[in-house]
């Protein structure tokens, strides 16, 4: 036997990369739902049988791409949380906006109004973990019987909506600006009290 070691054959690396790239470019072009496996293969110049050699379905391909992202985000959050605490809480937010700016196409495919359900749900899940972890120490703050999970869902929902809006609009504002606005609403409330 040669080496099944943990080095990856260049051929599989190229094939997988081509397929991933083809997918996100197709999502941007025509939305996730209507893409067929044939189209992905043609766009990636890969035989259809080869596709099924690596992934079991279109969704599998997508999920595979998302697992990378999950690892990256969790690491980044760990760094942000320990590093500078000057940002107060919600340390994930700025890092996320910046990461999105640096990989615009990827994020537009994943969290843009195109892209469908799967990615959104996964990202939501990742963020929920991060926020939940951040809220953990502040257990005392949620005093009057407000379930912690409620707050988590509220924040993550708001963040995702804002992120999607920013991406769909072309991500023109700088990440710092969006982040500042998001934190402002999260800390001080979104609506001015009437009286």
């Amino acid at each position: 036997m040669k080496t099944t070691e943990h080095t990856i054959d260049r051929r599989v690396a190229r094939t997988r990369a081509a397929l991933h790239q083809a997918l996100i470019s197709l999502i941007l072009k025509k939305g996730y739902g209507s893409i067929t496996v044939d189209e992905i293969c043609e766009a990636a110049n890969v035989g259809r049988s080869t596709f099924y050699l690596h992934f079991t379905s279109k969704d599998d391909l997508k999920q595979s791409g998302l697992s990378h992202l999950r690892r990256q985000r969790v690491e980044a959050a760990a760094r942000a949380a320990t590093g500078d605490q000057g940002t107060g809480r919600l340390s994930f937010s700025l890092a996320m906006f910046e990461h999105a700016r640096d990989h615009l196409d990827l994020y537009r495919a994943l969290a843009g109004s195109r892209g469908g359900t799967v990615a959104l749900d996964t990202i939501r899940q990742i963020l929920s973990e991060l926020v939940r972890a951040e809220l953990e120490p502040a257990a005392a703050s949620s005093s009057d019987a407000m379930p912690r999970e409620f707050v988590v869902q509220y924040i993550v929902g708001a963040f995702m909506a804002v992120l999607t809006w920013w991406l769909d609009g072309g991500a023109k504002m700088p990440p710092e600006r969006i982040d500042a606005m998001f934190r402002r609403l999260a800390f001080d409330g979104a609506i001015a009290r009437n009286s």
Copy 2:
């Protein structure tokens, strides 16, 4: 010719109702994505050719159901806005939670974690219109260059997330309670300021 009047043949009414009902019950059972037209027809006891006599596709059936909802919600919002202003702003919120409680199955199918993309997007759209309209008069409040649309997306995103969470958990808390928590976060902020 008889009458094409505006009265609807009983057979048509029964068929359509059966199909709509079958759809939401199937969504609850196995999620929207994997449902086939065949299954819908069998569940509704309707011939497949008859299905295509009324709707062009699965999505068409879903959209048709949503258009009812849209009309209802817009009317309800109009009533709530003019009626009692005692609730402050965000008058749509309580009405929505109550309506959801009264039609639990429907809402669990549309906004639960099952149900997929189409419904969520439509509901988000409806809510955006309502919030946008409510924010209109308070134009002055968003003083320092915070785009109004940003606030709209933030609020709607947070609301949808909270609604979904409540529904997926079985909608155990009373609407008033959820509503109060939502308003609290929206008005006073979700995170306690550090210092």
